[in-house]
Symmetry: C2
Subunit: 344 residues, 2 copies
């Protein structure tokens, strides 16, 4: 474990300057700051006091907190397994609130004794993930595919399974099949749309933009979706809903609106927890294993942290980024009771 002395030597500055950088003092040159942070991140510097534990991994949400959602709750359970298996502790952090003015993210993490981070992000906060990667801090994004250089992620590729889901619908004779995407665009929803289009193509059904509907990822969004679909003419006979809460809201609203599922409308939803068993009828869904993903995040971080850090040399040469790890998790289709033959 490198000390301030090692960092100082490698960055070619005094320990005082290292300390100033690490404490975010305003009285340091940008050049010194850059060199020190670079070396500190590369060598995985963590301030140590005696034996004080420094095995913290942070679960960081960069934008709106989605804590408490089925996905995040299940993810958390998976991370708890990872904690046990790899001997880490878990901290929960709101990146935007925890960061001080003009503070580098990696410094925020160091200040809190954090060794690595599991990042949750939404489209508007992708740049935070990129910045953390740029600083060289060990971090992995879960649940979104962020194609930025240097960013590690664990991702459920739902493209193929989305295609299977819509194949399942065409196999039941459906031709007018709608798809419901989130209001907010991200790579996941792009994948699911791609799967949808591929399935239509292979069944010889023409892609129709009017069949692509957007809704908020909330129960209420699902309710609105059903009202939208029922107002269309001709009505779709099936819909693929790419978000769990929206799917649940749609199922409930169908009942209220007198739309029978699956007799009048087949619904394929999406599930990353156990929602498919809680609704009625039990929901045919593209399923994603958030538990495994949470554990995997810890496995990836463990790997990143086990790789021998770049030696603290006497000279800073290249800006060697930390290793980028990208992993794809399985998704699968489960057929339950919310899909049935196309009505005549």
């Amino acid at each position: 474990m490198p000390s301030v002395r090692d960092i100082a030597k490698s960055a070619g500055v005094s320990v005082a300057t290292v300390s100033r950088v690490l404490n975010n003092s305003p009285r340091v040159s940008d050049e010194a700051k850059r060199k020190v942070l670079e070396v500190a991140n590369r060598s995985r510097y963590v301030a140590t006091v005696g034996k004080r534990s420094t095995t913290n991994i942070a679960f960081v949400y960069t934008g709106e907190s989605s804590l408490g959602s089925p996905f995040d709750a299940t993810l958390m359970r998976g991370m708890a397994l990872g904690m046990e298996e790899f001997g880490f502790d878990l901290m929960v952090l709101d990146a935007r609130r925890a960061r001080r003015r003009h503070e580098a993210y990696s410094h925020m993490f160091m200040r809190k004794g954090i060794r690595g981070a599991v990042l949750r992000t939404t489209a508007p906060t992708v740049d935070i993930c990129r910045q953390i990667a740029d600083e060289g801090f060990p971090a992995v994004v879960v649940g979104s595919r962020i194609e930025e250089p240097g960013v590690s992620y664990i991702y459920s590729d739902s493209r193929q399974t989305s295609q299977e889901a819509v194949d399942h619908l065409t196999g039941l004779g459906h031709r007018r099949i709608a798809v419901c995407l989130n209001i907010v665009d991200d790579s996941d929803h792009a994948d699911r749309l791609a799967g949808y289009r591929a399935a239509l193509a292979s069944a010889g059904i023409e892609y129709d933009e009017k069949m692509v509907v957007r809704a908020t990822a909330l129960r209420e969004g699902g309710a609105q979706l059903i009202r939208r679909l029922m107002g269309m003419s001709p009505r779709p006979t099936a819909v693929f809903i790419t978000d769990p809460y929206t799917a649940m809201g749609a199922l409930n609203e169908s009942r209220k609106a007198g739309v029978r599922v699956p007799e009048d409308l087949s619904i394929v939803g999406f599930d990353d927890a156990e929602l498919r068993y809680m609704v009625y009828p039990e929901m045919t869904a593209v399923c994603q294993d958030a538990l495994a993903m949470g554990r995997e995040a810890f496995s990836v971080l463990n790997e990143m942290l086990s790789i021998k850090p770049a030696p603290v040399s006497d000279q800073v040469k290249t800006t060697s980024r930390s290793t980028v790890i990208r992993r794809s998790m399985q998704t699968w289709l489960e057929v339950h009771d919310s899909t049935g033959p196309c009505p005549p």
Copy 2:
């Protein structure tokens, strides 16, 4: 913030001995250990390095982890609000795994830079909570009423609302009303049973032990419950199910078993999240606000930590426990579609 020097002075030992105790060295007398821990806890000692953050609150499960359950997920969301409001960080900890051999719980917390703890417990691990309280470490139990001396807790008193729930059933004409409790006994379920009995009494219905059924707090437990109830003769026409997952499992199994809800069987469930809206029919339930409880836990800890710690005097006199705070949260009855008039 006291230093090892202050602790040493107050405990009448050298700084070396203080350090040894705080690092769990085996080469210390029990007497020295006792005195030092007593002073350290009383004065809320936290090891400090420079400005390294020490505002961690731990969310600690003492027994089986229930992370990912709707209650814990919602609680977590509430705690995230508390983090923001009171400026703490949150760590997740498994008390039994994180503790080293022969280590005091308060030392485990200090080692990890934790200032206070939110405890989740089950009946078999109540003694861990008592021990933490005995050591004088700031901690609050959420979701269980632990009537041990020195233990602080935040509790949802569901006795009154449970009574209202069963009043609601008797008001609909039901007389054969079963109640389903957890396999594991705790104060909550005792409260709910007491409410049930009070409601029966006020409706002039005799209490019948055969109407008290136990099930595991899982969907499968609910399924078994329905099979049990349907095997009874005469059959109950209503049941009060005191656990969310059990209630959900019971609703689903009813449908599979051809038992119509509420026509054949009225069900009052329990909900600490939003499960009542996810099931069909939407569930009449005793509701508990886990979100508010999570936030309240941080408020209580903030209060505990703001109380000026006992001054580090030159002599240890009494074993002054930290303040005990006990707070009760509201529960309420929501009538939805799973309850109806007693069948003829």
